[in-house]
Amino acid sequence: MSMDTVLFWFLSLIVIVPALAVVLLSNPVYSALSLVMTMVGVAAVFATLNAYFLAGVQLIVYTGAVMVLFVMVLMLFDLKHDLQTFSRGKVSGFLKIAGVGVMAGLLVGAISLATKKPSLIVEGSPLANELAAAAASGADNTKILAENLFLRNMLGFEILGVLLLVIAVGTVALSRSKGGTHARD
């Protein structure tokens, strides 16, 4: 049993148990903190997949910013009265649970069917050899990622920048109170 195998099983536990907690716990603050745990676990999974930079970014962006926002908002709301945890409706509830269950089964089935074929792993990326070399030597592939991001996906990157600007402005517009920052709403 190699180190990677142990890590994988451990990490899948770290990822899945808090994920279940997110959905099942009725206190949203616990849900949020469980989700943080999941995010950290996902970051670790990224690291086991040689995506060290992405693991760091996952930590910074998700746990450091997105989830902090969630937790802050939750704590600000401070929901005193009990909120119904799950939605009602016998037919739709059954449909939802059944749908999710069937889908889970189908997904797993699809994956196990598909991975039996070797065609799921394809060669042919222009940077494949570099990446393979990096993976083989255990070296960092951040540089390859950067080359891909800034040379081949420049347009997407720029569009994302514009999107972020729009989002920033839109969020400020959405959440500001009427009459400026210091006015009471």
């Binding site: 959905v23 999941t38 196990s112 990446l131």
Partner: protein
């Protein structure tokens, strides 16, 4: 032997199944929870699930595009969270609750 090798030899499908499980958990959260914020968190869960499969494909296919996509997904997820939370705050200000049924008012 089959079971043991399944346990020991971790490969692409292990990661994919992990991703699928995470995705399904997130989906069930979206479908079933009433708290808007938890619904949004479940969406984040689904996005993370997809990210795992992207990175796994990236590693096993030696294709860096997968990681680039994950980078994009993260950015969009952050943006989505910001806007979504802003909307939720507005709804909370109006109804003093974040039950998802208040979102029905947005259908117009």
């Amino acid at each position: 032997m089959q079971e043991i090798s399944l346990l020991l030899a971790v490969g692409l499908n292990h990661y994919l199944i992990l991703s699928a499980i995470l995705f399904t958990i997130g989906l069930s959260g979206v479908l079933l929870r009433r708290n808007l914020i938890v619904v949004m968190m479940s969406i984040e869960l689904m996005l993370n699930a997809v990210n795992i499969s992207f990175v796994a494909f990236s590693k096993y296919n030696y294709n860096p595009e997968g990681q680039v996509i994950v980078f994009f997904v993260m950015t969009i997820a952050a943006a989505e969270a910001a806007v979504g939370l802003a909307i939720i705050v507005s709804i909370f200000k109006r109804f003093k609750e974040v039950n998802i049924r208040f979102f029905e008012h947005l259908k117009g």
